[in-house]
C-alpha cells in the first residue's frame, strides 16, 4: 500500500530504500499496548500506521451481561488513570435514563472525585511525558504528587486505581472526616511539586525545543478529526463539556478554561498543567460550598438500603433482593450523556429495554479520535517527535480499545 507511494522515484534513483519499523506492541513508549508501523527515511517519519486493539477486552459486550450496577467495576478500567470520571459518567447517564436527581452533597462529592480523577490522569500523563523526554526526576515528582492524591482517593473510595465509588443514585459512602485536612495538606504539597516540575521543564530550552511547534494542529483540523478535551483546547477552541453542557455542580463553580494557540505539543502540555490548577481550585470550592446531608437518593428502588433496614423495612428488603438478583429496573429508553473526561468528551450511550441489564452500552472514548490523528500529526516529523506527540495525545489502551 504505502510502499508504492513512498518509494518514490528519488529512492529508486539513489538506490536507497525506506526502513520499516515495527514499534510495539511491546515498546517502552507505547503505554498501553499499541503498534506503530513506521516507514522511516533516515530519522524522518514518512508514513505511520497506528494499530490499536491489543487491549480490547470486550467492555461493551461484557456490559450487556452485567446488571446496571455491575457495570461500574468495568468502567473503572476504561481510563484507568482517571477511573472516577468513568464511574461518574456512567452513573449520570443511567440517572438521566431513570430521571432521578441526586442530592446536593452527592453531586458535590461526585464533582470532587471527578476532579481528583482528572488530576490523577493529568499527573500520569505529564509525568509520562517528562519520562519519555528523559527527565526522570520531574517524572518522579509528579508520581509523588499522584501518590499523595491516591492516598486521599484511597481513603475516600477504598482503592487507589479502580475506585468503583459511584453508584446509581449516589455514592458508596460519605467523605471521611479526615478528608478536608488531607486535601489541604496534599494540595499544598502538590502545588510545591507543580512549581518544581514547571521550573525543571517549562523554561528549559531543551524541553521547549522538543515540544514547541512539534505536531501542531489547526482548530479546523482538530474539529474535523473529532478532537475534544485538552488537545482541542490546545488548538484554541474553548470547548469544555463542563461549560458547554454543565452537569453536576459545575455551573456553580468558578474556573477557567485554558486554551492554547497553535495546538502543538507544548500547548497540550501546558493545557494539562493549567487544568491541574483549575481542578485544585474546583475541589477547594466544592469543599467550601458543600453542606452535610444525604449522599444517596431517598428511593429504595434505585439504591442499596442500610444493612439494618433490610430485615426491618419491607420496601427495602424487596428492592434489595430484586436489585441484587435482577438488577435495577431502568425504564425503557435510550440516552447519551457526555462528561468531560481527562482526555476529552467521554460519552455513554445506553439503551434499556426496561430490564435489569443494559441492552447496549456504547462508550465514546475521547482518545480513540485523538489516536486516529497521530499519523496526521507526525508524518514528516522525526522519529523522536513521535514519542512526546503520542504521549500528549495520551492513548489509554483501556479506553481506546475498550
Amino acid at each position: 500500500m504505502s510502499d508504492n507511494k513512498h518509494n518514490s522515484d528519488f529512492h529508486k534513483l539513489h538506490h536507497t530504500e525506506l526502513l520499516t519499523l515495527n514499534m510495539g506492541p511491546s515498546h517502552p513508549a507505547t503505554h498501553g499496548t499499541v503498534k506503530f508501523l513506521i516507514t522511516l527515511d533516515g530519522e524522518t517519519i514518512e508514513h505511520l500506521d497506528v494499530e490499536v486493539g491489543y487491549l480490547h477486552r470486550g467492555f461493551e459486550k461484557e456490559c450487556e451481561n452485567q446488571n446496571w450496577n455491575g457495570v461500574f467495576p468495568y468502567t473503572d478500567r476504561l481510563d484507568y488513570t482517571a477511573s472516577a470520571l468513568n464511574n461518574v459518567g456512567y452513573a449520570l447517564a443511567v440517572e438521566k435514563l431513570i430521571g432521578i436527581e441526586t442530592p446536593d452533597r452527592c453531586a458535590y462529592i461526585r464533582t470532587i472525585v471527578s476532579e481528583l480523577g482528572r488530576m490523577s490522569g493529568h499527573y500520569t500523563n505529564l509525568a509520562a511525558g517528562a519520562l519519555e523526554l528523559g527527565a526522570l526526576t520531574a517524572f518522579i515528582y509528579f508520581v509523588e504528587a499522584r501518590e499523595l492524591l491516591w492516598d486521599v482517593i484511597e481513603s475516600v473510595c477504598g482503592a487507589r486505581l479502580t475506585h468503583n465509588y459511584v453508584k446509581i443514585g449516589g455514592v458508596f459512602s460519605d467523605l471521611p472526616p479526615t478528608f478536608e485536612g488531607d486535601i489541604k495538606r496534599v494540595f499544598a504539597r502538590n502545588r510545591e511539586l507543580w512549581d518544581e516540575f514547571a521550573k525543571l521543564l517549562l523554561r528549559n530550552r531543551i524541553f521547549v525545543d522538543r515540544m514547541r511547534d512539534i505536531a501542531p494542529i489547526s482548530p479546523e483540523d482538530a474539529k474535523a478529526w473529532g478532537f475534544t478535551g485538552p488537545c482541542l483546547r490546545a488548538a484554541g477552541v474553548p470547548y469544555d463539556v463542563r461549560r458547554a453542557q454543565p452537569y453536576l455542580k459545575y455551573d456553580k463553580l468558578d474556573f477557567e478554561i485554558p486554551i492554547g494557540e497553535t495546538g502543538d505539543n507544548y500547548d497540550r502540555f501546558m493545557m494539562r498543567m493549567e487544568e491541574l490548577n483549575q481542578s485544585m481550585r474546583i475541589v477547594e470550592q466544592c469543599i467550601e460550598q458543600m453542606e452535610p446531608g444525604p449522599v444517596n437518593v431517598n428511593d429504595p428502588q434505585w439504591r442499596q438500603p442500610a444493612k439494618d433496614n433490610i430485615y426491618t423495612d419491607m420496601e427495602s428488603m424487596i428492592f434489595h433482593f430484586k436489585n441484587a438478583i435482577n438488577g435495577v429496573q431502568v425504564p425503557k429508553g435510550e440516552v447519551y450523556f457526555p462528561i468531560e473526561g481527562a482526555n476529552g468528551e467521554l460519552g455513554f450511550y445506553l439503551v434499556s429495554n426496561g430490564g435489569g441489564k443494559p441492552v447496549k452500552c456504547r462508550v465514546r472514548p475521547p482518545c480513540f479520535q485523538l489516536t486516529s490523528a497521530v499519523s496526521f500529526l507526525v508524518e514528516g516529523a522525526m522519529l523522536a517527535d513521535l514519542i512526546p506527540t503520542f504521549d500528549m495525545i495520551n492513548l489509554i489502551g483501556g479506553e481506546c480499545d475498550r
Binding site: 519499523l21 513508549a29 528523559g134 526522570l136 520531574a138 524541553f207 522519529l383 523522536a384 514519542i387
Partner: protein
C-alpha cells in the same frame, strides 16, 4: 634490582592500581551512587534490599548482586547476528575507557628510596591527544554493537552514536585548545604540575572551556541529556538492546568508567589535579618530616585529593544526568556543530588575544 626491572615493577603496580581503582572501586560504586543519588534527589529511598545475613550496607551490595546475576545470565546472541562482532563490541567499549587513564597523573612526582616515582602510567608528551585518540576508538564499541545485533533499533542506535560521537570528538578537541595555549603543553603531567599554585588552576581563567568540555564529554559518553543513541523511550535501549549477561555488564562498566575518566580529565585540567589549594606537594613532604615517610604520606594525600575531586565531579555529572530532559537527535548535532564548535573557536581566539595582550599570563 636493576633500574629496568624496577621501572617495570613500578609500571605494573601503577597499572594494577588504576585498573583496581576503576573496576574494583569506581565501577561498582557508581552503580550504587547512580541508584542512591537519584533516589534521594527524587524523594525516594533507592535500592536497599540486597544483603548478607540481614546486613544491607545501605544498598552497597546491590552492585555485587547485579554483577553475580548478570554473570550467570544467559548470553544471548540473536539469530542472524554476526557472532564475532557481537562478542567483540563490548570489549571494544571497555578497553578504551580504561586505556585513557594511562596518561592521567593521579599523584605527583616523588623521590622514594633514591628512585624517582612518577604517579602516571605513561608520561606522554602528547597526553591529551592520546586521550582523544582513545576516545575515538571507543566509538567502535557502540557502532559495531549496533550493527552486529541484527536489529533495527540497535542499528539506529549505532548510527546515531557513530554520528554523535564523531561530531563531538572534533568539538571536544577544539574546546580545550584554549587551555593548551594557556598551559603551553599537551602533556597532562605538565598541566597537572603547573597547577601547584591555586591561581593557576584551569577553572580560573578557562572556565568557559570547562563548560564546553564537560558538555562535549557528556555527549561523548552518551548520557542524558545526550543519550539519543540509547534513548529508552525511542530506541528501546539503542545499540545494546540485544545484549545480556556479561556483555551487557561490560557496556555498563564502560559507561561508568567513562564517567570517571571525564571527571579525572576535568580534575587534571581544570581543578588542580592532585594538588590541595595553596599547599604544594613539597610543603606536604616537609610537613610530614621529609624523607621517605613524608613522601609516602604526601603521595597518599595527593591520591586521596585526586579521588575526592573525581568523586565531586561524578556527583555533578550524576546530578546533571538526573535533572535534564533529552535532546532530539538533530538538536544534539546542531548543538555540537552550530553552538559549541563556534563557541570554542571564539574562545580560542579570545584566549589567543588575551595571551597576546598579556591579559592572561601563560603559565
Amino acid at each position: 634490582m636493576n633500574s629496568m626491572t624496577g621501572d617495570l615493577l613500578e609500571t605494573v603496580v601503577k597499572i594494577a592500581f588504576v585498573i583496581g581503582l576503576n573496576l574494583g572501586f569506581f565501577a561498582p560504586m557508581l552503580g550504587w551512587v547512580e541508584r542512591k543519588q537519584s533516589a534521594v534527589m527524587q524523594d525516594r529511598i533507592g535500592a536497599n534490599r540486597a544483603g548478607v545475613f540481614g546486613f544491607t550496607f545501605i544498598g552497597l551490595l546491590h552492585s555485587a548482586a547485579d554483577a553475580i546475576k548478570l554473570i550467570f545470565k544467559e548470553d544471548f546472541i540473536p539469530r542472524g547476528a554476526d557472532r564475532m562482532m557481537h562478542t567483540l563490541a563490548p570489549v571494544i567499549a571497555v578497553v578504551p575507557a580504561l586505556a585513557a587513564f594511562a596518561v592521567i597523573p593521579f599523584g605527583g612526582k616523588f623521590e622514594l628510596a633514591g628512585h624517582n616515582v612518577n604517579l602516571v602510567i605513561a608520561d606522554l608528551d602528547v597526553g591529551l591527544l592520546f586521550v582523544f585518540a582513545i576516545a575515538s576508538i571507543a566509538t567502535y564499541g557502540a557502532v559495531i554493537a549496533g550493527w552486529a545485533s541484527n536489529n533495527n533499533w540497535s542499528m539506529l542506535g549505532g548510527l546515531r552514536s557513530a554520528a554523535q560521537m564523531f561530531s563531538y570528538e572534533v568539538t571536544m578537541g577544539l574546546t580545550i585548545i584554549g587551555l593548551v595555549m594557556y598551559y603551553q603543553s599537551l602533556s597532562l603531567v605538565v598541566i597537572a604540575e603547573k597547577q601547584v599554585d591555586f591561581w593557576h588552576w584551569g577553572i580560573i581563567y578557562q572556565w568557559p572551556a570547562f563548560i564546553l568540555f564537560l558538555t562535549c564529554a557528556i555527549a561523548e559518553n552518551k548520557r542524558i541529556p545526550f543519550d539519543v543513541p540509547e534513548a529508552e523511550s525511542e530506541l528501546v535501549a539503542g545499540y545494546f538492546t540485544e545484549y545480556s549477561g556479561m556483555k551487557f555488564i561490560m557496556f555498563w562498566t564502560a559507561e561508568f568508567i567513562e564517567v570517571v575518566t571525564i571527571s579525572a580529565l576535568c580534575v587534571t585540567m581544570f581543578f588542580g589535579a592532585y594538588h590541595l589549594p595553596f599547599i604544594s606537594p613539597d610543603m606536604l613532604v616537609s610537613i610530614f618530616g621529609g624523607g621517605d615517610f613524608g613522601a609516602i604520606v604526601a603521595m597518599l594525600i595527593g591520591i586521596g585529593v585526586f579521588v575526592a575531586k573525581i568523586c565531586a565531579l561524578i556527583f555533578l555529572q550524576m546530578a546533571i544526568r538526573w535533572t535534564l530532559p533529552r535532546f532530539r537527535y538533530d538538536q544534539v548535532m546542531a548543538l555540537g556543530w552550530k553552538i559549541i564548535l563556534p563557541a570554542s573557536l571564539i574562545w580560542i581566539f579570545l584566549t589567543g588575544l588575551a595571551i597576546l595582550l598579556g591579559l592572561m599570563p601563560t603559565v
